[in-house]
Each structure stands twice: as C-alpha cells, then as structure tokens.
C-alpha cells in the first residue's frame, strides 16, 4: 500500500478498499521505523495527521470524492504551516510556530490531503546535498552513506523510501530536480509564477518556485492540479488559466521534437549518466519523437550569474531574521548591535552566512554594475538562448545531474557544490518548467533525466515524462536497502 502512487491510492480510497486512517497509520509506522535512519522529517504531525485522515474518511462518506482527499503528504519545512513548527532547516527558526498557512499548504488542506509532517532541507534551501540543515544531514534511501541531494532532500528521500505518498519541494536552482534524480523519484519545477510563493520562506524571490515530488509524472500532474493557479497575495503569480494537467498525459509523442543541448553532453558528464539518458532518448524515438542537437551558447555562464542573483536577493530576504520579533535571539545581548551580530552569527549556519556575504558584496556600492547588473544581463541572454531553441524543438532533454549521489561529506569545497546544479540552474534563470524523472541506476544509485519545456508548457513536460513512464519502469525501481525495514512493501 505505502509504495502505491497517488493515482492508485486515490482509486483505492474511492472504491472503499482502504481508509485514509489506515493509509495514514501505515505511513506513520513507516516513518517511525525509518526516519531515525534517514532523518527525512524534522517534524512528524502524528496526532493531527490521524485527525485529518478521520475527517477525510468522514468527508468521503458524505460523497466527497476529490482526488487528493485523504492522501498523506509531507511538506518541505520551507512552507509555513499553521500551528506547526516551521524551521526552514535553520536554528534561526528552531522555535517558529507559524500562525498562518502558505498558499500551497492551504490548497492541499482544501483538497483534503493529510499532512504527515515537515521534511528536512538544506538551511534556507541553500545547498545541494542536505548537509547544511541545522537538523542534520538526510541520508539517501538507496545508500545511507550518500546524500539525497538538496535542498529538498528530505522530501525526495521521504517519497523514495515510501514515508509518504507525495511531497512538496521548492526549486531555486535545482532543489527539486537534483534530489529527485539522486533519490530516483519524479520532481517537477513549474514555470516561475505558476504556483504561489505566499508563505514559502524566500531564498531568492525571482527564482524560487514550489513544485511536486512524487512517485510518477502522473502523480506530479495530479498534485499540480491542486498547487497551480493565480494568488493575489503573490504579485509575481501569473493570471493565466490552469489546465487540467492530467488531461493531456496520454497524448501521443508522435512528431515530438526533442532538443539535446550539446553543452549538457560534454566534459564533466559521467559515462553512466550519459548512457542512461541516451537509452531513454532511444525510447522516445521509438515513441515517434525526433532528436536534434541544439546550442545553448550562454549556458556556461548560468552558474556564475546564478551565484550573484540568488545570494543578492537572499542577502535582503534574510535580513528579517534579526532576533527582534521571532525566531532565535542570542543570550543576554548587551546592546542592539550585539544582538544583531550574535543572533545572526549563531542563528545562521556557514553556508547561509557565506551566501549573505556574497550577496551583500555583489550589491555594494561600486560593485553593483560589475556583478548584479551584469548577472541580470546574462540572465536575459540565457532566456534568449531558450527562446531560440524552442523555435526548433518542443522540449529540451538532458541529464539532471552529471553523476549519481555523492558520499556524505565528500564535497567540502563550496564551488564544487555549486557546480552540482550546472544543468538545472539555467532553467530557473529563465523561469521555465522542468522535470526530473528516473532513468535507471548505476552502482545501486538512481540517475535522473531532465526535461525542460517552454514558458507555461507544464502540460507538455508532464505529458512527455508520463509517456516514458508508461513505456518503461525505471520510476518503479525501489531502493533495495529498505527491504530489510519493518512495515510492509
């Protein structure tokens, strides 16, 4: 039961084969068994989850049959959830019980989903390995010596290890897609503005976007039907009709034009990941798609531009954490300056402080033109690269990450960590929708393939991903190490 997809659970609930309380209890048991080892959850809401499950069952008895009713999910701990601890993986918010719900949380509540708990993450979503969390690293369910990726590593690990049916994540430079690739699950980043950012703790406002982490593209589409839409509380959210993302999943790929960027199949890409992606591309050809090499000439600039824009925005976004109104405050400050300095020195971890410093520097008088303004120019160039590519192709496909999950503690140099997102970052700079889906394993670790669509072409990306999953079973592969766990499979 717990390894079922949302689509399957939804059908079983609708048929009355199982109850939400039963499913919820099964996941809670699984969390109790495995979370100690995986550290995927920061907070588990056992009591309220069972209460919500009972409410969902009661609602179903009165005829409510909405697709997510009674389905247990986990939210990344970046989403404010009313009356629940919301830490963003930081000591700074170790005591922050949110008085309000993020728009994403509210929408899943309205859909009747059951909140199992809040998942671990890199501190303030800054990291690609989940090692920067104040609550400790998350372990990769496929190999507990490896990282799950980041920053939505807790959500990806939880979905991979069947600690929940589905989870939310956020993606600023690859934070949904890279952990999805490392954990062998499906992770989807929608177009910028498609999902409301209200209540999602900001890292880099012009790049952050929430999305689903799920066991299949179909599940991601079901989740998107709930998550997407205009929210007047988020001025950057888009007033564009929301499609039924499940409606076009089964569209034929006959005639689909796939572009593969030559820059993403070059030096630095591991042989096994390249092979896995090429195998998947061969499947697409069988489904009637054509493959064409394309050029994204400015893609080599994306990581540099990103590490100016994102830290610059973060340096301002994180200024509110000052010890004055909520969150961590240092002991016995002697004066205001002492309070600011020690609160922020003690409350933030190393990586967060590093990025605040980078961002502050980039925005400083005399450096603004050389860094921030230039990075914004590069951002436009990158967007133009994509625009011209999408004149020739329908989707762009490549590896999500150059390699499989790496060992915990193996990347101590920040720059090599930043290069983790080399294939995913440009998509955030351009605001495009993109998904990572599993395409097999190497040495017992999963690999992900990246599918990028044009602006607001969520439905097409999900359709392309789903068609591969209909014709392969890479997404059904499960981490072997968990077979020993108690509970059921």
């Amino acid at each position: 039961m717990i390894n079922s997809t949302v689509a399957e659970l939804s059908a079983a609930l609708a048929a009355g084969d199982i109850s939400s309380v039963e499913i919820t209890q099964a996941y809670l048991n699984r969390i109790a068994d495995l979370n100690g080892e995986l550290n995927a959850f920061i907070t588990v809401c056992e009591e309220s989850a069972l209460r919500q499950a009972a409410q969902a069952d009661a609602a179903r008895a009165t005829g409510n049959n909405s697709p997510l009713l009674g389905i247990p999910l986990a939210h990344k701990d970046i989403f404010c959830s009313k009356d629940v601890l919301t830490t963003c993986g930081s000591r700074m918010l170790h005591n922050f019980i949110s008085p309000y719900n993020a728009a994403v949380v509210e929408r899943f509540n309205d859909a009747g989903a059951v909140l199992l708990g809040k998942t671990n993450m890199d501190e303030f979503a800054m990291g690609s390995s989940n090692e920067t969390s104040f609550y400790g690293a998350v372990k990769n369910p496929w190999n507990n010596e490896c990282v799950p990726g980041g920053s939505s590593g807790g959500s990806a690990a939880a979905v991979a290890a069947d600690l929940c049916a589905m989870a939310t994540g956020t993606d600023t430079g690859g934070s949904i897609r890279q952990p999805a690739a490392f954990c062998g699950v499906t992770g989807f980043k929608p177009s910028y503005g498609r999902v409301s950012r209200w209540g999602m703790i900001a890292f880099a406002s012009s790049l952050d976007q929430a999305g689903p982490i799920a066991k299949s593209a179909e599940d991601a589409a079901i989740m998107m039907n709930t998550m997407a839409g205009l929210d007047i509380k988020d001025s950057t959210s888009i007033d564009k009709p929301v499609e039924d993302y499940t409606a076009s999943l089964n569209k034929s790929l006959q005639g689909l034009r796939i572009g593969i960027p030559k820059q993403h199949f070059a030096k630095g890409l591991s042989a096994e990941v390249e092979q896995a992606v090429r195998n998947a591309l061969a499947e697409y050809e069988k489904l009637g798609a054509s493959i064409k090499e394309i050029d994204l000439p400015n893609s080599h600039l994306s990581v540099s531009a990103y590490y100016v824009v994102a830290p610059a925005e973060a340096s301002a976004n994180l200024s509110r954490f000052d010890g004055v109104r909520y969150g961590y405050r240092c002991e016995d400050p002697v004066d205001l300056e002492d309070m600011y300095k020690r609160t922020r020195s003690e409350g933030f971890g190393e990586e967060v402080k590093r990025r605040i410093l980078i961002g502050t520097y980039a925005l400083s008088a005399g450096f603004y033109d050389a860094y921030y303004r230039k990075a914004q120019k590069i951002r436009r160039l990158i967007k133009e690269d994509f625009n011209s590519a999408f004149k020739e192709v329908d989707v762009i496909v490549g590896p999500t990450s150059p390699h499989t999950a790496f060992k915990l503690g193996s990347k101590s140099d920040p720059v090599s960590m930043y290069l983790e997102d080399i294939y995913t970052i440009a998509v955030n700079l351009a605001g495009l929708p993109a998904i990572s889906i599993p395409v097999g394993t190497a040495n017992g670790l999963p690999m992900g393939m990246h599918i990028v669509g044009g602006d607001f072409e969520e439905a097409k990306v999900l359709n392309v991903a789903h068609q591969l999953q209909q014709n392969s079973d890479w997404h059904k592969q499960k981490p072997a190490v968990l077979a020993s766990a108690k509970g059921e499979a």
Binding site: F79, S319, D322, L363, A365, Y368
Partner: protein
C-alpha cells in the same frame, strides 16, 4: 563678502489611504501599539507585498497636478539597512524609476513676484515603525502600526535661494496636497515632514557648495529658522577659513541652531536593488487621463477665476484659495450674499482673524457660510450698518441664533426713519455750534466728527449715509 544660498527640499507626505502600501492593515491614527500590524507588516517569513492601487493613484494624482512626467513603468527597489523598527531589514522605495518625474510648482513671494521651482521627482515608499526609548527600563519598545504606511517623497530641484522661498514652496505644496485630498499633510503630526539640503556659494559662482541636510523639521516656521541658522553657521565657518562637511544635521529649536547627527547609519551603503517580489508598475495614457479628469480645480486656476469672476485683488484671491475648504466657504458666502467684495473682506479678515486667534481650521468654524452670507445680506439691505454687523458677528460666536434673531433680540436694527434721524441731526447741530460754524466756513472734514456724534447718540443704529446727507442739507 556676498553669499548666495542654494536650498533643495525633500518632503515626505503620508498618503491618506485606508490601508497600508503593501498590506491590508488599517492606517488609522492613534491605535494601540502593534494592533495595526499584520503578518506582512511584522515581516513573518514567507509573507509578500501587494501594492495598494490607491497609493499609486494618489501619487499619479499629485504628479498630474504639478504637470509632472508620469513614469510609464515605475520600479520598486529595496533599500537595505538594519533597524528594529524596519521589520524586513529593507525599506521598499523607488530609486531609478519613480512614479512621478520632473514637474514644477509656482509660488508667490511676499513682494507679489512669482517664482517657478522645479520638482525633480516624487516616489512612493513605505514608512518605518516607531522606536520608543522611554518607559521600558533601558530597553526599547517597537510599535509597528506605522510600518508600511505609504509615503510620497517629493524632491525639489536645488533652485530655492532663501528661507522665504522655501516656506512659500512648502506652503504651496501643502495647499496642493490638501486640494488633492491625498494627505492630511499636518506637519505637527508627522503626516508631512521636511528634510532641507542647504549650501552656500559666493555670489556669481555656478558651482554648488558642499551641502548639509537638516532632517525631519516639523513646522514651516522651524524650516525658516533652521535655514537662517544653518546659512549663518556655514558663512561663519567659511569666513573663518573652515570647510562645510557633507553631513546630516538636526535643528534644535530651543537653541535656534543646527547640530551634527553624524552616526554610523549615515555612512550606510543601502545596497539598492529592484524588489523581486513586485513587478514593475506599468501606467498607460488612459490611466493618466482618467486621473487627470478627476482633478479638482487647483489653487492657481481657482485664484485666476476668483480675480476674474469676483473682481477680487490678487492678494485677496490668494488668501481665499489657500485652502480648498476656505475657497468653498468663500464661494458660498459670495453666492448667497450676492456681494463678492464684502464676502471676501468678511472671510479673509473677520473670519480668518477669528480662526487664527483660536487656532481653528476653517472646517471648525463656529459660523457657517450661510450665516455669514445672511449677515452680509442684512448689511446690504440696510438693516444694520457694517459696524453693527461686527457686533452681530461676535454674538454669533456665542449664540446659536440666526442673524435676524440676534438683530431683533438686541434691537440692533438700523434707524432709517427720516423723522428719527432728523431729530438726531437737529440735536447734534444744536449741541456743536463751533463745528457747525467751521463746516460752514468750508472745513469739510468736520462732517466726520458730526456724523460720529449722531452715531454715538443713536448707539450706532442710525444709517450713516442718511445722517451724512441730512447734516449737509441742514448746514447749508
């Protein structure tokens, strides 16, 4: 040595929207601390700004009123600094692309001459909260009710050359803002604040001298005094061989001097960058035209109309249009009394004197425009004399009765009965033979004395014109 003063003004005006610039919190004045602070205002993580369209409309209204360029695409920026009453750690303002661009104001100086002063720009920004340093045992209290209230910062060109011009500019700005109904603009309450940039240079030089900025002055009079005192200080400094340092200063009214308030904050690098949580605001011609169509008649136009339509002097018209309410009051009196000249005199002298004495606003006037019009009507139909009218006016302050009731009750009706007037005249002629003699010998001005005697005898009720006429008749 001859010096020239160069002044630029930065005026902050609190826009009178019902809710804050980026949140739905109320902006009502005087609420309990922190009761008007939403989760956005206290900067809880995850909260986002949504622009209050009313604040934008008010800014455009101001821009259109001063003939300014309106930014077709204005951009909000973050100005970063740490302070406990700034919850987000940055203030949202407009740096490079303000909503209101170049415009101008024309002011009338005391000698009647006019001067046009350029407005560089006016941008929308949010207010900070308040830090309270007393009553907290060495700690500070923070009140965030004001945090996020919309402000319009209006920046003048450095084209003001005296304290007098500065005050004239401020008063004109104040009048326009009140006409537009976009702010209370009460300096004493902080809904209008002024920072003054002052520098001096040798007469004839074109290069600007080093300026100082005097922050947060809260009355027109203090602006004038602060400028005088700062100019004096800079002159003495330079003439003694010193140099003006670019710095922020504060005006101390008790000692009538400016003092340096240099602190670390002043040296801040604000690290401005475009606010990514808000999209650029795009304003089209249609929007501007709609705002323009809703503009009220503005003071300059009203003044021109008053001089043309009511044949008022420039000066009287200027006084009467100094507030929209005053002008409206005047027009009711003028229309209902049918005598604009008398209406102008009564409103700008008697009524305004009374209001000023009591520190009342025209809206608080105890005498309504309709009553004042009635009073003038009684003068015109000779029921009372102008002099008696002043007594009635005084009485109107104390009694709620109508003009006619007061005249009746106090027996103030003018005597116009020629028989009664004749009696008075005869009595006065009989009692003042010397003066009568002088008149007959050609000393015309003595008539004034004799009229006065008649008026006194009648306790002011006799019709002075009739008295005058009859006296002359009888003394021929």
């Amino acid at each position: 040595m001859e010096w020239e003063t160069v002044i630029g003004l930065e005026v902050h005006v609190s826009l009178s929207t019902k809710s804050k610039l980026f949140s739905g919190s109320s902006t009502q004045f005087g609420a309990e601390p922190n009761t008007q602070a939403s989760i956005f205002d206290i900067a809880l993580p995850g909260t986002l700004p949504v622009l209050n369209e009313e604040a934008l409309r008010m800014a455009v209204r101001f821009g259109v009123a001063i003939g300014a360029e309106i930014g077709k695409r204005s951009v909000f920026d973050r100005k970063n600094y740490f302070y406990p009453d700034l919850p987000k750690g940055y203030q949202v303002t407009q740096l490079d692309y303000p909503t209101v661009g170049k415009g101008s104001l024309t002011v009338t100086l005391d000698d009647g001459s006019e001067k046009t002063i350029g407005v560089t720009r006016a941008h929308i920004e949010e207010n900070a909260g308040k830090s309270l340093h007393e009553e907290f045992n060495g700690m500070s209290g923070i009140d965030l009710n004001r945090a996020g209230e919309p402000l319009l910062e209006i920046v003048s060109e450095p084209e003001i050359t005296s304290a007098e011009e500065a005050v004239a500019y401020l008063k004109k700005l104040h009048t326009i803002i009140r006409y537009l109904d976009i702010s209370d603009a009460i300096m004493a309450q902080g809904s209008m604040r002024c920072d003054v940039n002052v520098s001096i240079r040798r007469k004839g030089k074109t290069e600007l001298g080093t300026r100082t900025e005097i922050k947060n002055i809260n009355s027109f009079r203090f602006v004038e005094k602060a400028i005088h005192s700062e100019v004096r200080r800079q002159q003495e400094l330079i003439e003694d061989g010193g140099q003006v340092i670019q710095e922020t200063r504060r005006y101390n009214a008790d000692r009538d001097e400016t003092t340096s308030m240099r602190s670390k904050e002043v040296a801040n690098d604000y690290r401005y960058f475009p606010e990514p949580d808000l999209l650029p605001v795009v304003i089209d011609d249609e929007y501007i035209a709609a705002v323009k169509a809703q503009l009220p008649e503005l003071p300059d136009a009203k003044k021109a109309r008053f001089t043309a339509e009511y044949a008022l002097s420039e000066y009287d018209a200027g006084v009467l249009v100094s507030s929209r309410e005053m002008a409206e009051y005047f027009e009711i009196v003028a229309r209902q009394s049918g005598d604009a000249k008398l209406a102008a005199n009564w409103v700008s002298q008697d009524l305004l004197g009374l209001l000023n004495k009591n520190n009342w606003d025209i809206t608080e006037s105890p005498i309504e425009a309709e009553q004042l019009a009635n009073l003038i009507l009684r003068i015109k139909d000779n029921t009372i004399s102008g002099k008696i009218a002043k007594t009635v006016f005084e009485t109107m302050l104390e009694e709620k009765s109508s003009v006619d009731e007061i005249i009746e009750a106090k027996g103030l009706k003018q005597v116009t009965d020629s028989g009664e007037i004749e009696k008075l005249v005869d009595e006065v002629i009989a009692n003042n033979p010397d003066q009568v003699q002088q008149f007959k010998e050609g000393k015309q001005q003595v008539i004034g004395f004799l009229v006065g005697q008649c008026m006194q005898l009648s306790k002011g009720k006799a019709n002075p014109a009739q008295v005058n006429e009859l006296l002359r008749e009888k003394m021929q």
